[in-house]
Every structure is written in C-alpha cells, then in structure tokens.
C-alpha cells in the first residue's frame, strides 16, 4: 500500500489503464504539458506523449463529440471537462448523443467513453465553478455515474470506468483532491455499482457521496458520543445503483438520512428516498430526512459557502434532532 493524494490516485488510475490498453487516449483543456489545472494528471503527457495526451481548444462540444466518435470506432477515450459546471456547455453531446446513440441504434454501437470532471464546492470558486451536478447525469438514461470518496476508489473506480464498455461520467470532488489515503499497490480495479458500508451502526443509516462521505463519517463519530450508532454508506456509483446494500442497511436500522452536496431539488437523495419510501415502507421507523445544500446557487465567500454546504455539525444536529 502506498499513500497517495486523491489527485495522484487519479493520475495513477489513468496511467495504469493507458499502460495496459493502447486504445486509451486522453484529451482535454490544458491536460498536456500543464498536467491539468487541478494537477490531477501530472506526468501523463511526459509518459505517454502528445498523441495520447492531447490539449484541446476551449471547445467542450468538440471535446465530447470527438471522444464519442472515437469511442464508436475503436478507441477508449477519456475526455476531461475541467469543471463539471461546464458540462452544461456540451450537455447536448452528453445527454442526447453519448447517452442515447447505442439505444437508438439498438446496440449497433458501443461508446466506451469516460468523461472526467472536477465537481463540487468548498473552494470558493463561486456559483459557476462549484456545482455538484451528479444528479444531472443521473437523470439521463444511458449514462453511468460514479463519484469516489477516497484515493483508493479514485484509482480503482476510474480504472473500472475506463474498462467499462459504456459511457461513464466520473465526478472528482474538487475538495477531495488534496486528501491522502492508502492505495493498493499494483493493478487496482474496483467494480462499478457497489456501494460500501464505511461504518456500521444499528440506529440509523446515513447515505453519502464523494466529499460528503468523510463529513458523514465525522458526524457519525460525534453521534456515537450522543448515543446514536449510525451506519454510513458510501454510494460510490449512482448508476448503476447498489440498492441492495442500501436497502439492507435501511431495513436494519429503520431510518434513512441522505447527505447531498447538491442543491436540494431532484438530488440523488430524492431518488433514493423515493425508492426506500416504496420498497422499505414497512421497515421505516421514522421520516426520511435529506441534508442538502439549500436550493440556491452556491455563493463565493468562504463563510457563505461553508454555511451553505452540509457541514459535520449540520449532519449531526439534523440526525440527532430527528432521532429524538
């Protein structure tokens, strides 16, 4: 096991797969000599050369379109969209073309494509560079959606996404890039569609994603001091969604809390709540409660951003008052 930062783990995951499969190509803005504006792909250009690691113009539609056309015809491209907010500038390519073409042609084409993007807030970038948009992707049939919370998963899930024969939107939470953690040595590949129980407790289930996982974990530790033992589930993959693991934990504990970085409306937690309210109705001992950013664009100033996003304290308070 080596200790890597989340950003190093991303680079390691890409390197592992580019080494293994010569059809893996990587394109994006400033990803070449610059190593990416988040320095999450440092070293790839030097190692794999300007043909396989390629700078693009500021042309998000062309980036995704080119990656799609290449994926349909034999390559396994990785396309970087620098901030997830910019997915909006190429949303037609993603939601209408990448996601639907296999289905519309009844399987004539496969699109083994990974779209990596830096997601979320906490970095004081303001409303146009801080959104948590995993629910945009989740709402589109034909896209797989992954968001790791640890360096090990960053590497292992990214490798799995690259090997997956279908399009995967891979959300890298900006606030996690500097986080360090153990990453298995040698080849490391996880499976898409498996949630992970990060903490086991019998009183309630807290389901979280990406940067909200460490916050949920901290809150759970504090809740233990309050006498509440919480299970924490790291969703990891929104599509495919590991409902079995989640439902099992909810049945066990009788209570569900979601912790979502996204603004409230139509977040992934809403979908999860609706599944649970249908399929575990008789097992629930109390309301399903969602902890989210309020339904506003994210403000820029540090104090505002911190107050808007779910905090350890807010998670703890919400769970505690709801469990009373």
């Amino acid at each position: 096991m080596a200790e890597l930062s989340f950003r190093e783990a991303i680079a390691a995951g890409i390197a592992q797969e580019m080494e293994r499969d010569p059809m893996v190509y990587f394109i994006g803005e400033d990803v070449g000599a610059a190593g990416g504006v988040f320095k999450a792909t440092v070293g790839l250009f030097e190692r794999f050369g300007p043909d396989r690691v390629r700078d693009t113009p500021i042309s998000e539609q062309a980036i995704i379109g080119a990656a799609m056309g290449a994926a349909m015809t034999g390559l396994r491209p990785i396309a970087e969209i620098m901030f997830s907010d910019f997915l909006a500038t190429c949303w037609d390519m993603i939601a209408n073309q990448v996601a639907k073409t296999r289905y519309m042609t009844d399987g004539q084409v496969s699109i083994p494509l990974v779209i990596r993007t830096a997601n979320g807030g906490g970095t004081r970038f303001g409303a146009q560079h801080s959104q948590s948009l995993e629910n945009w992707a989740m709402a589109v049939p034909g896209l797989k959606v992954v968001a790791p919370s640890t360096p090990a998963d960053a590497k292992g899930l990214l490798a799995a996404a690259i090997r997956d024969p279908d399009p995967v939107i891979f959300f890298e939470q900006k606030s996690l890039y500097g986080v360090k953690g153990e990453v298995p040595d040698g080849e490391h590949v996880e499976r898409l569609g498996e949630a992970k129980v990060r903490r086991d407790g019998n009183d309630c289930t807290i389901v979280a994603l990406a940067a909200m996982v460490p916050k949920a974990m901290q809150a759970a530790e504090q809740l233990a001091a309050d006498g509440i033992q919480a299970t924490v589930v790291d969703v990891r993959s929104l599509v495919p969604l590991d409902t079995q693991t989640i439902l099992r934990e909810v049945v066990k504990t009788g209570r569900l809390f979601t912790v979502e970085e996204n603004p409230r409306l139509c977040g992934w937690g809403a979908e999860l709540a609706s599944i649970v309210a249908d399929e575990c109705f008789d097992d629930l001992d109390g309301p399903i409660v969602r902890i989210t950013t309020p339904h506003v664009p994210l403000p820029a100033a540090d104090v505002l951003e911190d107050a808007a996003m779910p905090s350890v304290e807010r998670i703890r308070q919400t769970v505690r008052s709801s469990m009373r």
């Binding site: 539609q61 056309g69 290449a70 349909m72 015809t73 073409t101 289905y103 042609t105 009844d106 969604l241």
Partner: protein, 337 residues
C-alpha cells in the same frame, strides 16, 4: 467576399461510375417517393424528412468512398444511409415502426444507422454530428486505418456552435474528415439567407478555419463525384479536412407535415428544372449510353423498392420487449441491482 461556384470537372467521369451514380440516384429517388406514398397511406408512424432533389450529393460521395469509410448524416439521412449499401427493406421497415426495421423500431426515420456498411448514424439535433464525425476521423488517424469520415449537414447547421468547434478541431488536428454542407436554401421554413451573415453559409466561412472555399453544384452528380474524390483523397493522404458547400434544393417540404408554401413558385420551378436525376439521365443519353440501358436501371430500381416495401410491410410491429434492451453493452437496461 463571396465564394464562386466551381466549374464542372475537366476530366470525364468514366462510364461504369456514371451508371453506378445514376443507379444510386434513381434508387434513392424511388425510395423517398415510396416513403411519401406510404406516409399518405398513413403507414409511416413518425415524422420523416425526405431528400428528394438532393440525390446527387449522397450518390456522388457514396460512390467515391471506400467500403470502410464513415458516413455521418442527419435526420434527412435515408439517402446517405442507403447509398452506403444499407438494406432498403430494413430502412423502410424502420419508417413503418416494424420489428424488422433497421433499428427494430427504436430509432425511427430520423436515426437510420447501419454500422456494418459504414453508415455511422443519422443525428437529429442540428450540428451535433460534426464533432462526432471529427472524432471518428481522429480515431482513424491514430489507428492509421486510412479511413475517412464524411459528414453531411444542412445550410442551417452552419450557424450553430458545434459547427464552429468541429471545424476548428478538425483543422488543427488535421483530421481525415470531409464536411459537406448541403445548401438547400432553407432551414425548416426560413430561408437561410435571412439569418446568415454571409451569402454562402459554408464556403464563405472556410477561411475562418484556414480552408479553401469549395462551392459546387450539388445537383450535378459528376461534379459531386469529382468533388468527393478529391476531398476524400486529400483526407486520406494526410491533407486534412475539407469544407464543401453543395448548392441544391429539396423538392418537397421540410418534413412530412410541411407543404412548403413559403417558397416562391418561380424558385421551385427553376430548381425543379435542375433536377439532378433527369439532368443526369439526359447526360447519359447524350454521352451515348443507350435508352434501354437507362430504362433497365430505372426498372430495377423500382423493383428493388417494391420488394423492399413488400418485405417491410410484412414485418410485425416492433417487439415491446425491446424497450428495456440495449441501453448498455450487456444488452440490458438495468440501473440498479
């Protein structure tokens, strides 16, 4: 500052190629006409966009392409797809929403695709397939396969952002892709000149990408064939992309719902007099090809369309269990366990 229409090619197109061009044009013409008849019979379920009058472009390019080259086209893509060798019966059945359709009913008229024949899809959102075609060309380039991607689109498409992004990317990466603008003078119901800053929406913009303007008579199959040969050759030999503007006209409305009343009679008459099919027929006769041979091509085309129609009509309605198939490469549609 306006591009000029190029003269017909100096070199004569050889006789077998000409016969092939004519055959293809007649087949595409007959297919579209049949599609229209079936629509009047209320058998075509969804919308459809016919390319009646634009056959010289699809035929010219298809004949010049290598079997493994890629075609990307729009919702007005029956002709481009069939010209690559796709099954006419499967295309017709798709229009009728039948289970024996090319996409088993899941795509419909606007999305005909036959990857086996290099027909990489019909895309229904204006402009989207230009970057995708560039991507297929990028793939061919790095795989060193020698394949070329040809991407067809309308005049109206030149005003959308994806056009601009695709052209720039193709040029800087020197991709083996040919962009062919079929300037049929109209978007849906709006004349292109009323919403475009230049007279020739594609040719007058070539220089913005460091390309030569190529403006050609899209109703002349010889011209189109020669243009295709040259631009494909450029792409295949590492010369990078071209942007072609082919002047043409659709004989009917934009889609099945449109009687095309917004077009001046004189304009329609003028363009009908330049019908690529009748014009080419005359040229063949003038070049000494016998009427019998020409007639036979026409008869065979009719028979082909008849047979395709019959086969399509025999198809059962699309199978409902297809709804939850082929979202993913495992053949299924599961989003959860």
């Amino acid at each position: 500052m306006s591009a000029r229409v190029e003269k017909p090619p100096a070199a004569e197109v050889d006789r077998p190629t000409r016969l092939r061009l004519y055959q293809l044009m007649v087949e595409l013409r007959d297919f579209e006409q049949r599609a229209y008849e079936l629509f009047l019979e209320n058998l075509v379920r969804g919308t459809s966009h016919l390319a009646l009058g634009q056959e010289a472009i699809s035929a010219g390019y298809a004949v010049a392409m290598r079997a493994d080259d890629y075609t990307f086209c729009t919702y007005r893509g029956h002709g481009h797809t069939l010209a690559r060798g796709a099954s006419m019966a499967a295309a017709m059945a798709e229009l009728l929403g039948r289970g024996n359709g090319m996409l088993h009913g899941k795509g419909g008229s606007m999305h005909l695709t036959d990857v086996k024949h290099g027909a990489m899809g019909s895309y229904a959102i204006v402009g989207a397939h230009l970057p995708i075609a560039a991507g297929a060309a990028w793939s061919a380039q790095v795989r060193k396969s020698g394949q070329v991607a040809v991407c067809f689109f309308g005049d109206g498409t030149t005003n959308i952002g994806a056009f601009h992004e695709a052209l720039n990317l193709a040029v800087i990466w020197k991709l083996p892709v040919v962009f062919v603008c079929e300037n049929n003078q109209y978007m849906e119901y709006t004349p292109i000149r009323s919403v475009t800053a230049v007279e020739h929406p594609a040719a007058d913009r070539a220089s913005a990408y460091g390309l030569e303007p190529i403006l050609v008579d899209g109703n002349d199959a010889d011209v189109m064939y020669e243009t295709a040969r040259q631009t494909i050759d450029t792409a295949r030999t590492g010369g990078g992309p071209s942007l072609v503007e082919a002047l043409t006209y659709r004989h009917g409305g934009h889609s099945r719902a449109d009687p095309a009343k917004y077009r001046p009679d004189a304009e329609v008459r003028e363009w009908l007099s330049r019908d690529p099919v009748t014009r080419y027929r005359e040229r063949l006769l003038a070049a000494g090809i016998g009427e019998a041979e020409v007639n036979e091509i026409e008869t065979r085309a009719q028979q082909k369309v008849d047979a395709a129609t019959e086969e399509a009509r025999k198809g059962a309605p699309a199978a409902v269990d297809g709804i939850e198939r082929q979202v993913w490469s495992d053949g299924g549609a599961a989003w959860r366990n």
